[in-house]
Each structure stands twice: as structure tokens, then as C-alpha cells.
């Protein structure tokens, strides 16, 4: 296989992992908890920006052709971890401003507006974000390991795949735990959940934080791979691509985000490149968006549970084993964990 083809396929796979991680984060918010976060993309953008400014060296090192803050030139995986934390913290912060006071539908409107404001702000704020031009020449995290660009690309695929697997595992453990059940209860009926002792606001903030952190990881990987960050890449329409992916794949299930992220942003969007050029020059790119919109409507209408629907969770009939002796876990006795604390009970 030629080097060009290898680069192309590696790029597609990395983009697939990036979208899968983002869709997994959105799945926790929308699929599991019923939070319509139409500003999801800005958490991904925040993660990407964080990685950019932590990986890049001083702005003066490149003759000052682009303006940004920090420029700490940190090695991998510090920018990735910092991106997850920053995007997660941003999620909790924005969530704290909105989820306490707003119902789901109004929250959706406010988050959409926040997304639009954020894009405008970043584009116009030259000193910190370098305006519409964005940032470029972001260092490659594993460049020192190999001089071959092909090997580097496949190495990146491997690392992105491992990170993607870890994110999916973390999401799955959460979905299948009693915490995940409480989140689904909030999605189904927040008043009834509160009446059974669930702190609905805290649970929503939790998924804003965890989902935001996953978006941050996704953005960080993308910025590291493409070596660029631009406000135009993170427009609110990208959020709708992820929502479409989730609805097509199956919101609330473990595999739904994977199937949706592969089918919609990767196969469908990339597939439109192979359409023969016809009509005005902008017609084919526009068809991509039209197709995404039509698919979203079709699934909502005819197949609302998606290709991999949320499974019915049943419990096998089994005898209760002998009680466990209270054990020490990280210095805390299990019985100490009981009480009125925590977002659940």
C-alpha cells in the first residue's frame, strides 16, 4: 500500500477514534441522563486548545506569528490529561450556571446560544486564541520516537485506539452501575428521581463534568494529530453531527456511540468525497449536510432507538453469597461510605 493510502487510512481511523470518544461523552449526557447539551463541541474545542497551548513552546519562538497564552511545551501525556481536566471543569462550570435553573428544553436553547457566543468570542479574541486563523505547528507528541512519518501515523493510531478503549471502558462501567441507573432515572422522570432522594442537579453536573472531560480528550487527540486548532472547526453544527451519530447508533447503549460515530461522521461524511462533481461547486458539500439532516429525521421518525438500542437490563436469579467482611478500600472503611453524601444517595 502506498504511503499516501496509509496516511489516508490512518487519518480516517484516528478521526474515527476521536468521534467515538466524543460520542461516548455525549452519550453519558444525552443518551443516559437526557441532558441536551447543544454546546458539546465547545468542550472538545477547549480540550484541543488546551493541548495546543500546553504543547507549543513560547509564542516568541516562532517569531510571534501567532498569539496564545502559556506555551509551556509540555510532553505527552500531560497536555492530554490537562485537556480532560480543563474541559471537565468547564463542563461543571457551565453546568452549574444552567442546570440548576433550567428545564431540559430551555437548557438546550441556552447551551446552543453559549456555543454561538463562544465561537464568536474566540474568533474575535486575537490575543489569546489568535482569532479566526487559530493555532498551527502544534508539536507531534511522539515525534521523537520515530523519524518515519508512516510509522508515526500508525503509532498515533495505536495510542488513540488505547485511549479510546479506556474511555469506552470507563463509560461502560458507569452506564452499568447503580450510578448509571440513577442517571437513567433522572432522564426518565426528574421529579420522581428527586422524590426518591436523587440529587438531580448534582447528577447532571457530574455528567457535564465527565462528558466534558471525554470531549476534552477527543479534542486533544485531534489537535495533536492534525497539529492545528481553528475556531471554524468547532462550529455548533459539529454538535449536531455528534447528536446524529448518537441517535443513529443508539443513545444510551454502550455500542451505540461507536456504531454512530463510525457511520455518520466517518463513513457518511467521507463517503461524500467520492460523489461525482455535479451542479454548482458547493452542491456536493451541501449534500453532506442535507444527508445528515435527512438521516437524523428518518431515524427519529422510524427508528428512534437507533441501530443498537439501549438494552433492557435484567438480573439473573441467583442466591445471595455470604456477606463480605467490611474491608479497607484506599484507607476508607466501606461502611464509612454510607450516608447522605454523594450525588446519588
Amino acid at each position: 500500500m502506498s504511503a499516501a493510502w496509509q496516511f489516508y487510512i490512518a487519518t480516517l481511523i484516528v478521526f474515527g477514534f476521536v468521534y467515538i470518544i466524543a460520542a461516548a461523552g455525549l452519550n453519558l449526557q444525552f443518551g443516559l441522563t437526557g441532558v441536551y447539551n447543544f454546546a458539546f463541541i465547545i468542550f472538545e474545542a477547549a480540550g484541543a486548545y488546551c493541548t495546543a497551548v500546553l504543547s507549543l513552546g513560547s509564542p516568541r519562538a516562532f517569531g510571534g506569528f501567532q498569539s496564545y497564552i502559556l506555551g509551556l511545551h509540555l510532553p505527552f501525556p500531560l497536555p492530554l490529561l490537562a485537556s480532560a481536566m480543563v474541559a471537565g471543569a468547564l463542563g461543571v462550570g457551565l453546568g452549574a450556571l444552567t442546570v440548576r435553573r433550567l428545564r431540559a428544553d430551555y437548557l438546550a436553547i441556552v447551551m446552543l446560544v453559549i456555543s454561538l457566543i463562544a465561537t464568536g468570542l474566540v474568533t474575535d479574541y486575537q490575543g489569546v486564541f489568535n482569532g479566526a486563523a487559530g493555532l498551527s505547528l502544534i508539536p507531534q507528541p511522539f515525534a521523537s520516537l520515530t523519524s518515519s512519518s508512516i510509522v508515526y501515523d500508525w503509532l498515533f493510531v495505536l495510542v488513540a485506539g488505547v485511549i479510546c478503549a479506556l474511555v469506552l471502558l470507563a463509560a461502560r462501567l458507569m452506564i452499568e452501575s447503580p450510578l448509571g441507573r440513577s442517571l437513567r432515572a433522572v432522564r426518565e422522570n426528574e421529579n420522581a428521581a428527586a422524590a426518591l432522594g436523587k440529587n438531580v442537579t448534582a447528577l447532571r453536573l457530574l455528567v457535564f463534568g465527565v462528558g466534558g472531560a471525554m470531549a476534552g480528550i477527543s479534542g486533544s487527540l485531534l489537535a495533536s494529530f492534525t497539529q492545528a486548532w481553528s475556531p471554524s472547526s468547532w462550529f455548533y453544527t459539529e454538535t449536531f453531527v455528534l447528536f446524529t451519530a448518537l441517535i443513529v447508533g443508539g443513545a444510551g447503549s454502550n455500542l451505540g456511540p461507536v456504531v454512530g460515530a463510525v457511520l455518520v461522521p466517518v463513513v457518511l461524511a467521507e463517503g461524500s468525497r467520492y460523489l461525482p462533481q455535479f451542479g454548482p461547486p458547493t452542491l456536493v458539500p451541501s449534500l453532506e449536510w442535507i444527508a445528515i439532516g435527512v438521516i437524523l429525521l428518518a431515524f427519529l421518525w422510524f427508528w428512534p432507538r437507533g441501530i443498537v438500542p439501549e438494552p433492557k437490563r435484567t438480573f439473573p436469579a441467583e442466591p445471595v453469597p455470604r456477606p463480605l467482611v467490611p474491608q479497607r478500600t484506599r484507607g476508607v472503611l466501606v461502611r464509612d461510605l454510607e450516608g447522605e453524601r454523594g450525588p446519588g444517595r
Binding site: A170, L173, M174, S177, P178, L179, R181, S182, R184, A185, E188, N189, N191, A192, A193, A194, A195, L196, G197, K198, N199, V200, L206, V210, E310, K312, R313, T314, F315, E318, V320, P321, P323, L324, Q327, T329, R330, V334, L337, E338, G339, E340, R341, G342, P343, G344, R345
Partner: protein, 262 residues
């Protein structure tokens, strides 16, 4: 949670509502309503439509904030506590309409209600998996026992949305008990229930009250109220216009005027 549940003096009422009032715009929905509910007894709230019964229940459960008045539960002022914190101290409510988690199975509906679940804390989800899974197995057994008691064990893997009206009421009551309540607040438990299940539901409520749980219920079905409630309050236009035994209330002129004769 058990440690945080407040102890009660032997003769003190478990729930004590004192002079609560609430207005929506210019409408005074609840005006200076006071009542108490002792443990082990069923207290009824009745009245014509718009009397303020459900609003009163909403204020007691924390869904609606009162303009004036206080609510004490087991000797502690809970007036400013949000709904979820009241539930955590044992004040559990059911809903007049749509109280289920539709796309959760019947068994999952009950499991959500169980207090003190280790696996609900994100740190524990990843750290003490074996411990919370063991606790969950015990909770599943408890939930199955409750479903058996309420005669809906065969529906444990059915989505709540697929239950009939009567089965939903039974499930909601079983779910409320799964939350280990000290006080049950039931909003029209007989609404949408077929006559065949009504008697069964009444028996369950009496059984629950006999176990020492206080029950406050809002209901339109007067015969049912007479059968199960030891003490009844009649509300009209947001005020208490009579209280006592249902048989005695039937004789009071004010009650007859406002409610019983329509």
C-alpha cells in the same frame, strides 16, 4: 442514612405541618393549613377539585416552597430542605400522574429507590466494584420480595411504561417501600385503578401503616378514605374546613356544603 434519620419522641407526631400558605399569582392555593400525622396511622386529605390538596402535598414533599408556615419531620424543621433531602430522611411520595421511570424495568424502578447504594458514587463505580455488586444482589432480592408481596413479581422485567394503571400504582407503592420510608405521601393512589385492585391496594396500605409507617394520602374516593383513614382533613379553597373521622365529617354542614353535596 439510618444514622441521619431523626429520632422521634414517643408521643410526638412524625409529621407536623404548621400554618403553611402558598399563592400562585393572585390565587391563594393554600391558606394557613396545619395538621399532623402520627406514625402507624393513615391521614386523609380530601376536598373538591382546586381545594389545595395536591399543593399541600407538594409543599410537604418540598416540590413547592410555602410563603409562610413550617414543616417538622421527626422533630426537625425540614421547611427549607429540597425534595431529595426530605426523601433521604424518610419522606417518600408517590405521584398522581406519571411517577414511573418508563424505560426502566419494574425491578429497576425499585432498585433506583433503594437508599445508601455504594455504586451510586462515581469513585466507588471504579474502585469497590465487588462490594457494590454484592450490595446490589441483596437489593435485587429485597426488590423481588416486595414485588412478590404486591403480586407483580412476574412483571419484574417489563418496562414500567407497559404496565396497566393498577399495576403502576402497585409498583409505585412497592418502590416507595423500597426507599425505606418513615412517612408515605400518596397523591390519589386510587386514580386509574380498577375496582378489582382497589381492595388489594387498601389492604396493602393498612398493612404498611400497621408496620409503623405514617401515611398521608390525597384521595377523591370517599369510601376508600373512610375505610383506611383514621383521621381526615377536609380542604376547600385552600383552607381546612373540617377534620376528624370520616363518619363524623359526613354530618358537618360546612363540609357537606363545600364538598359532599358538590
Amino acid at each position: 442514612m439510618s444514622a441521619s434519620r431523626f429520632p422521634t419522641a414517643p408521643d410526638a407526631p412524625l409529621l407536623s405541618v404548621n400554618g403553611i400558605s402558598c399563592s400562585f399569582g393572585g390565587v391563594r392555593a393554600v391558606v394557613d393549613v396545619s395538621f399532623s400525622a402520627p406514625a402507624g396511622q393513615i391521614t386523609g386529605l380530601i376536598g373538591p377539585n382546586g381545594a389545595g390538596k395536591s399543593t399541600t402535598l407538594g409543599i410537604v414533599t418540598g416540590a413547592i416552597r410555602p410563603a409562610t408556615g413550617t414543616i417538622h419531620f421527626a422533630g426537625r424543621d425540614v421547611t427549607k430542605l429540597p425534595s431529595y433531602r426530605r426523601a433521604r430522611v424518610g419522606m417518600i411520595r408517590t405521584f398522581q400522574m406519571r411517577g414511573e421511570f418508563d424505560r426502566l424495568t419494574v425491578l429497576e424502578n425499585l432498585l433506583v429507590a433503594a437508599p445508601e447504594q455504594l455504586g451510586e458514587r462515581i469513585r466507588n463505580v471504579y474502585s469497590i466494584r465487588r462490594t457494590w455488586r454484592h450490595q446490589q444482589r441483596e437489593l435485587v432480592e429485597q426488590a423481588r420480595e416486595l414485588l412478590g408481596r404486591f403480586g407483580i413479581a412476574s412483571h419484574e422485567n417489563v418496562y414500567a411504561a407497559e404496565l396497566s394503571g393498577g399495576q403502576r400504582r402497585l409498583m409505585e407503592l412497592a418502590r416507595a417501600l423500597m426507599a425505606k420510608p418513615r412517612l408515605l405521601l400518596l397523591d390519589e393512589p386510587m386514580a386509574g385503578v380498577s375496582p378489582a385492585i382497589r381492595g388489594e391496594l387498601a389492604e396493602h396500605l393498612l398493612e404498611v401503616a400497621n408496620s409503623g409507617i405514617a401515611i398521608v394520602l390525597v384521595e377523591h374516593e370517599l369510601q376508600f378514605v373512610e375505610n383506611v383513614c383514621g383521621h381526615v382533613l377536609v380542604l376547600a379553597q385552600g383552607r381546612v374546613i373540617g377534620e376528624g373521622k370520616m363518619s363524623a365529617l359526613r354530618e358537618q354542614a360546612a363540609v357537606l356544603d363545600a364538598y359532599l353535596t358538590g
